[in-house]
């Protein structure tokens, strides 16, 4: 199933792009002639390109798999080609072992959860509530830092950002719908 997903991931992206262009061109067709001119100029050619890309994706599925070497391995190959003998770099770049596809998807979902939760937190409770909560929870539970590291780092960074933006740059950031509602209610 996973290899099937990998096999069709390029086509999925092409279909997403095709969908976006078709919808935008369809919406643009309702505008006056001058207003729809540019959306047509930049919207119709990529529809044709997406269709062509789908054909290329289909052809690529019947070809042997592409070179799966990493960036570093490719760089080593290029370097060896230039100097005429084998060149090896020091390390592959990370201590982490190669992740299984299931573990990758799991980690992706967790990280997207943090990100979406953070954005929702900002919209509902404002920046100055969401930032320290996000920083401390991410550092503690995702980056596996101890409370002694996560708390001072998270709170310290939040205070520093507050001082830079609210006091230094005089930027009034979003205070959050729930926070504003509660504060309004309390001030009455």
């Amino acid at each position: 199933m996973k290899s099937l997903l990998g096999k069709y991931s390029n086509s999925s992206m092409t279909l997403v792009m095709l969908g976006i262009f078709v919808v935008m061109v369809a919406i643009a067709s309702r505008y006056p002639a001058e207003a729809r001119f540019m959306p047509f100029v930049v919207g119709i050619p990529p529809i044709l390109l997406c269709l062509l890309q789908l054909v290329l994706d289909a052809r690529a599925r019947h070809r042997p798999p592409a070179d799966a070497s990493s960036d570093i391995e490719r760089a080593q190959a290029t370097a060896s080609q230039i100097v005429g003998h084998q060149v090896e770099f020091g390390a592959s770049g990370t201590t982490e072992p190669q992740l299984s596809p299931a573990e990758t998807v799991h980690r992706e979902l967790v990280l997207w959860g943090y990100f979406l939760g953070f954005i929702a937190g900002i919209v509902l409770f404002g920046f100055w509530v969401a930032i320290p909560l996000f920083l401390v929870s991410f550092l503690r539970f995702q980056a596996k830092a101890g409370w002694r590291t996560a708390l001072p780092l998270g709170v310290g960074a939040s205070v520093a950002l507050f001082l830079v933006f609210e006091r230094g740059l005089k930027v009034q950031v979003h205070s959050g719908f729930v926070t504003s509602f509660v504060l309004d209610h309390l001030s009455r």
Partner: protein
């Protein structure tokens, strides 16, 4: 000209605000360069909220200096630990790491830092020399050519970033152009793709879009990978300041090579789409080919450190040329910088040569002085800066995500931009996962408004006959040839440009 040239230098040197910002920018640029996971274009995008509300010149100097010195510190991990941060650093690793293994890490670092700074300064000089040469060419460009130049810029970037498949790059470039049409139509006042959402009537926030397409996907990917390079032995990190000084002297000792590769790098930088990897690899290849002892390369030849470093940093000066005078960013990093310049009120184009020449000279001086400060700083702090390489990527992610969210909000002061940030981040991550290039998107988004304006003006002036103007025909031929070559390469994949695709 001379008056403007030195007047700009004097004004910059005597402004405590500009010089102070430049010092901060150098320090931030060096830290960002050595820290894993944060690239040049990402650092510029992250810095945008902090220049919001700044005056045009100090803001532009801050961003350009930060961008220009980014690569100077990037080679530290390549030399000391054999772990290249990106494509141009990979070229430095070939000889830098063997030098470190031989106990000459200090010499390699001294040579690479000085070469990088030297390259940056020569790149700025090449840009300065090109101004009077290019002036008549730039001023000869009409709206017709500017429209085609926008398409050519996207085609070049799509060609390089898309590897064997130019169509993906073109599709992403058109996606950027399409999103640039969001907002009120300048001719009829019709709100396009904006509906009743007033925050979209002024167009899609460039900062939000750039952060969504680059910063968020990169951070998710960094969080998924996790880890640092801490397993690499720190033993090679030992070096002395005497060695470092010896390394510094290697650049004047190989001045002819350093000058040649700097000029090559600056010229490569002027060609939109050819990234710093291309400059570094091309210059490395040049050093090997012109050496009387090519067999030393790959085993710790100092020329193999000097050539890619001068080339990749000189590229920044060259890349400023199409970015400022034609509004066509030469790289995705320059595209983000161009977007930031637009926010600061700088309008790229031929008028930079007539109305904004003092600003152009200020930026050239910023490149020169920024690189001088960076060399001085880095020669003193490089042994400590190396420890930043061991920072755990997962610890950086939340801080960068916070700055991203602040940046998306502060750019327009609209909370709705956070929703746009989420939507485009999903698209950006999809592109990253599917291995599609994202650089053409930024070019498309940045050039969208200029392209539309130029197309309308060209149609009003010449109708469809604008395609038949001599300069237009040359640009059309270049676009067609680039696409045709990419299709040929797709049908018959070759290894000719493998080196250029190392990091996109």
């Amino acid at each position: 000209m001379i008056e403007v040239m030195f007047g700009s230098l004097w004004a910059m040197l005597t402004s405590p605000q500009t010089m102070g910002l430049m010092l901060i920018a150098v320090l931030l640029g060096l830290i960002v360069g050595v820290t894993p996971g944060i690239g040049g274009r990402l650092s510029i995008a992250l810095a945008i909220p902090f220049v919001f509300g700044m005056q045009m010149i100090p803001g532009a100097v801050f961003l350009l200096t930060m961008h220009a010195v980014n690569g100077t510190s990037g080679q530290i991990s390549s030399i000391m630990f054999g772990v290249p941060g990106d494509g141009d650093d990979a070229a430095t690793t070939i000889d830098g790491y063997p030098m470190a293994k031989k106990g000459e890490a200090g010499r390699a670092l001294g040579a690479s830092i000085t070469a990088s700074g030297f390259g940056g300064i020569v790149g700025a000089c090449v840009f300065a020399v090109m101004i009077p040469i290019l002036e008549p060419v730039v001023l000869a460009f009409s709206p017709a050519e500017f429209f085609l130049l926008a398409l050519l810029g996207i085609t070049f970037i799509a060609f390089i970033a898309g590897g064997n498949n130019i169509f993906r790059g073109l599709i992403v470039g058109f996606f950027g152009l399409m999103l640039a049409t969001i907002g009120t139509d300048p001719y009829t006042g019709t709100p396009r793709f904006a509906g009743d959402y007033l925050f979209l009537w002024d167009g899609l926030s460039l900062v939000t879009a750039v952060l969504a397409l680059f910063a968020v996907p990169e951070m998710i990917a960094l969080g998924v990978q996790g880890g640092s390079i801490s397993a690499v032995s720190r033993e090679t990190a030992r070096f002395s300041y005497r060695q470092l000084f010896e390394g510094v002297l290697e650049v004047p000792r190989h001045w002819w090579l350093a000058l040649r590769t700097s000029i090559i790098g600056a010229v490569i930088g002027m060609i939109p789409g050819l990234g710093s990897s291309a400059a570094a690899w091309f210059c490395y290849g040049h050093a090997v080919q012109t050496s009387p002892n090519p067999e030393r390369f790959g085993k710790g030849a100092v020329e193999g450190v000097i050539a890619p470093e001068t080339g990749s940093n000189a590229r920044e000066g060259g890349a400023l040329l199409p970015t400022l005078f034609f509004g066509v960013p030469a790289s995705s990093g320059m595209a983000v910088l161009l977007g930031a310049f637009l926010i600061l009120g700088i309008q790229p184009g031929p008028k930079m040569l007539t109305d904004q020449l003092p600003l152009v000279w200020t930026l050239i001086w910023a490149l020169v002085i920024g690189n001088l400060i960076a060399i001085t700083f880095l020669l003193f702090i490089c042994r400590w800066a190396a420890t930043l390489t061991f920072v755990n990527g997962a610890m950086l992610v939340p801080f960068i995500v916070v700055v991203v969210a602040l940046g998306a909000y502060v750019a327009e002061g609209q909370w709705e931009n956070l929703v746009i940030l989420v939507g485009l981040s999903i698209v950006g991550y999809g592109l990253l996962r599917a291995g599609w290039p994202r650089a053409p998107f930024v070019i498309g988004l940045v050039l969208g408004k200029i392209a539309e304006e130029s197309l309308h003006k060209a149609m009003e002036l010449w109708g469809f006959a604008f395609f038949l103007r001599p300069l237009s025909l040359i640009l059309i031929a270049l676009i067609v040839l680039t696409i045709a070559y990419a299709i040929y390469r797709n049908i018959r994949p070759s290894k000719a440009l493998a080196g250029l695709r190392i990091v996109q």
